[in-house]
């Protein structure tokens, strides 16, 4: 049976290839960064199993590695990748040659994922399912990426190595930003384990009537917006509000639907992203790019949409989350 671990090994292998390519051109911090991240992908399950049996040093080593990643991320500089005139001309030529076929590999990822998810229950070998049903979406996504890569290489007629080189280019362009969701989720677990969530829940419970579903929901939605406005990032607000209000008060106490709460709650945070200069790359950078005299011009153009949508989100939450 195919488990999600097999997909993790492929991710680990890709990260190691990226680390190797970075090392070859002397970008040692980037190489170290990707190599450290590759470790949980190769040895993750072994480390977690060891932890269960009482051998703690491998997990602690990963903890040290995580601190090192924070330091490496802060040292790393944003690297604008050089774009030569020849490369631009080549891309335009290729775009004209390949036309809309270029969209096929990219669209193949979601389409193949959905097709695999829906057909996973039917892939069987003597009554044993071939795809681990509890991780069907993630395994399907991993396979879909490989299928799409194969299609892509065929469409543009390039060797596999070119896919790896271009993949590494994008990975380096993302840099630490690629890791941010993963470390934020880690923070969410740490917050839950160290009692941060309980503390916030206790404070919120002291301020608002925790027996009232409406009051808890309002506190959650507005908390998402306010934290996002302060921090400029809904991802960062999510673990705080979820551990503090969403999970203890709404899901566990009032039996809110976690999928609805998580999804619409995150999008409620996005309404905050539209309002804040802290989300500089969406709200301030374009004002500069477009030479607007008012650096808040983009925020001025989008705040009405953000506030109306916030109201709609609150209504959607209220109608859908307790069903």
């Amino acid at each position: 049976m195919l488990h999600v671990e097999a997909i993790y090994w492929i991710v680990g292998a890709f990260l190691l290839v990226a680390a190797f390519m970075d090392a070859r051109i002397g970008r040692w911090s980037a190489a170290a960064f990707w190599a450290v991240i590759a470790v949980p992908f190769f040895f993750g399950d072994a480390i977690l199993d060891a932890m269960k049996e009482g051998t703690r040093w491998p997990a602690q080593a990963v903890g040290i590695g995580l601190v090192a990643l924070g330091v490496l991320a802060a040292r790393g500089k944003l690297r604008m990748h050089e774009d030569s005139r020849e490369a631009q001309a080549e891309r335009r030529g290729e775009a004209a040659r390949l036309g809309n076929k270029l969209f096929v590999p990219a669209l193949a990822i979601p389409l193949a994922t959905v097709a695999l998810v829906l057909s996973a229950p039917y892939f069987r070998w003597n009554a044993t399912p071939l795809i681990d049903a509890s991780q069907a979406t993630l395994i399907s996504l991993g396979i879909a990426c490989l299928v799409a890569l194969a299609i892509g290489l065929r469409v543009v007629r390039a060797p596999l190595s070119q896919g790896l080189v271009e993949g590494r280019r994008l990975l380096d362009a993302l840099g630490w930003a690629a890791l941010l969701p993963m470390v934020l989720a880690t923070l969410g677990s740490v917050f839950a384990a160290t009692g941060v969530g309980d503390a916030i829940a206790a404070i919120v419970g002291a301020v608002i009537p925790a027996d009232s579903r409406l009051a808890c929901l309002a506190a959650f939605a507005l908390g998402m917006v306010v934290f996002t406005v302060i921090m400029g990032n809904a991802f960062a607000a999510f673990p705080v509000m979820m551990a503090g209000v969403g999970l203890p008060l709404l899901v566990l106490r009032h039996h809110a639907n976690p999928a609805v709460l998580g999804s619409i709650g995150m999008l409620t945070g996005y309404c905050g992203t539209l309002l804040t200069p802290m989300a500089a790359n969406f709200n301030i950078v374009p004002a500069v790019l477009l030479e607007l005299p008012d650096q808040y011009g983009v925020i001025r153009a989008q705040w009405p949409t953000a506030l109306i949508l916030l109201a709609v989100n609150c209504m959607l939450l209220w109608m859908l989350v307790f069903r």
């Binding site: 924070g70 669209l107 890791l179 989720a185 960062a236 996005y270 009405p304």
Partner: protein, 235 residues
């Protein structure tokens, strides 16, 4: 209740507000809330390590990078731009509403960075919006800037409220992981599906606002002209 671990939240808020490197801020916040809850170093490191490992699914999206990088190298963005240029000749409202729809749809398929402020708004959408608006209204500098800002806002809204419908997107997997760590199993599919109502609402609301801005632009100079005529007549 022990309130000291809340220091971790303070670190996150202060660190993001002071624009320190987010990864470093988050790691420090985790360490601080661990120390503040009187964990010993060994336990804290083990907690960090196991949490990090159990959230590794959030990096699964890097498997999409070789494909996307490959087709980008062979002109995916140029092709997308040529496609958008085909919308030349539309009114401001039709152009921006079409762009909003495309931006949302592409984001839903995970093609999030195919467009953006640097890639499409500055070189294409902003100038096209200006010339489209000029077809029905005379633009002064303020109005011109308003049109540009609206183009940028449309890109943001299209991106934000499309990407969460893509199931490999970080937000969806972040939500899934959060609940998984608390022992609640959710399929990423279900989470992505619940982003649809908001995505539709965002499209309707912003499309109506675009139409409204165009009306406003068409009316404003006419009113100014009418006022000027009235003043001239009174003189």
């Amino acid at each position: 209740m022990n309130a000291w671990p809340l220091l971790g939240v303070a670190v996150v808020v202060a660190g993001f507000a002071l624009r320190r490197n987010p990864v470093l801020v988050v790691v420090i916040a985790g360490v601080v809330s661990g120390v503040a809850s009187r964990m010993n170093v060994g336990d804290l490191l083990a907690l960090l390590g196991t949490s990090f490992i159990s959230n590794r699914v959030l990096l699964l999206f890097v498997l999409t990078l070789p494909v996307i990088g490959l087709v980008e190298r062979h002109g995916l963005r140029e092709r997308a731009q040529a496609w958008i240029l085909g919308f030349r000749g539309l009114s401001l409202a039709r152009l921006l509403v079409a762009y909003l729809a495309l931006r949302q749809l592409f984001s839903m398929f995970g093609l999030i960075d195919i467009a953006g402020h640097a890639q499409t708004v500055r070189p294409l959408i902003a100038p096209m919006s200006e010339s489209a608006a000029e077809r029905t209204a005379t633009l002064d500098v303020t109005a011109r800037m308003r049109v540009r800002a609206l183009a940028a806002a449309t890109d943001n809204i299209g991106r934000f409220f499309g990407e969460d419908v893509f199931l490999a997107f970080g937000a969806v997997l972040l939500i899934q992981r959060f609940f998984e760590n608390q022992g609640i199993h959710l399929e990423p599919f279900a989470i992505a599906l619940w982003a649809l109502p908001t995505a539709i609402a965002a499209f309707v609301i912003h499309a109506l606002r675009i139409v409204w801005v165009q009306r406003d632009l068409n009316r404003a100079p006419a009113e100014a002209d009418a006022a000027k005529d009235a003043r001239d007549a009174a003189r």
